[in-house]
């Protein structure tokens, strides 16, 4: 059940990313280029997604279990700490160098784009590098559900 649901979520998410234009790096970069010709489309994507998200999460917050019976794994971390700040700044630099973030990167691999494949491979290496660097300093990973 969870697998079929996840497949459907991936399809709707991916189609949404394509329709919204966010799989096009030029549109992302057009939003991030405030000093050039500015394309506000990305703000409309966020606005549309959050409009639905606000309703869905307001229901989800009041539940302890999901509809499939599994526990609701809402993120529990509260602190605006150094990893959050430094990580977000690093992510922003990478995001704006290519105009690609993780979701659209994967969708663009589905377009059989070789550059997207290289981007996603590098991203996976970056994730493993994080595990190596942080894994050496922290004994255990946080509980499941901390990831936003």
């Amino acid at each position: 059940m969870r697998n079929i649901l996840s497949l459907a979520v991936g399809l709707v998410f991916g189609i949404g990313l394509c329709v919204s234009g966010m799989t096009e790096p030029a549109k992302v970069l057009g939003f991030l280029d405030l000093a050039g010709l500015w394309d506000p489309s990305l703000a409309f994507v966020m606005g549309g997604a959050i409009a639905i998200g606000l309703v869905a999460f307001s229901f989800a917050k009041r539940r302890t279990a999901a509809l499939n019976g599994e526990p609701m794994q809402m993120p529990t971390a509260r602190a605006i700490d150094r990893p959050l700040v430094v990580g977000s700044l690093i992510f922003g630099i990478g995001w704006s160098l290519a105009g690609i973030c993780p979701g659209p990167g994967v969708v663009n691999v589905g377009f059989l784009n070789p550059r997207a494949l290289v981007f996603v491979a590098a991203m996976a290496i970056g994730m493993l590098a994080y595990k190596l660097v942080i894994g050496l300093r922290l004994p255990a990973a946080g509980p499941i559900g901390q990831d936003a």
């Binding site: 994507v45 700044l89 994967v106 997207a116």
Partner: protein
């Protein structure tokens, strides 16, 4: 500030955004998980027993979305113009940064803002800020 009217797609972007929000809503209400692309990929790259299958299915959905769209011939293949070295650097920074920050544009930007999480609001403001600054430097200072 000058608006790029030629490329601005308010309706398509709003509709796509509604679909992204719908997907996030289905996942949290249906299976109790946050739809964050970086978190989902991170858990597939560094697997925990019993918590991998659904991630692979969701990633399969993302990969199949273009083919499904192309059945109706509305999908446009993306144009990635970044040079190879910059593309690799970008991927490394995105992978490392999103794990360190516990989220990306979907996890913090969409789901976190929808939860009204102060952490995600801070994360989104910061990655937007460093994105604006990086594009400014690349497009208007270096070139």
């Amino acid at each position: 500030m000058t608006l790029d009217w030629a490329h601005f797609t308010p309706w398509a972007s709003l509709s796509g955004g509604l679909l992204i929000g719908l997907a996030a809503g289905i996942l949290i209400l249906g299976a109790g998980r946050i739809m964050g692309a970086a978190g989902i990929l991170g858990g597939a790259v560094d697997p925990r027993p019993g918590d991998v299958g659904w991630r692979l299915w969701l990633i399969a959905g993302l990969l199949l979305a273009p083919s499904l769209l192309m059945l109706f011939s509305v999908a446009r293949a993306p144009l990635i113009e970044t040079s190879w070295p910059a593309l690799i650097l970008a991927g490394l920074l995105v992978g490392f940064g999103t794990r360190l920050a516990s989220g990306c544009t979907s996890g913090h930007g969409v789901c976190g803002l929808s939860r009204l999480s102060p952490r995600s609001i801070a994360a989104t403001a910061l990655f937007m800020l460093s994105g604006f600054a990086t594009v400014f430097v690349v497009r208007h200072v270096l070139s």
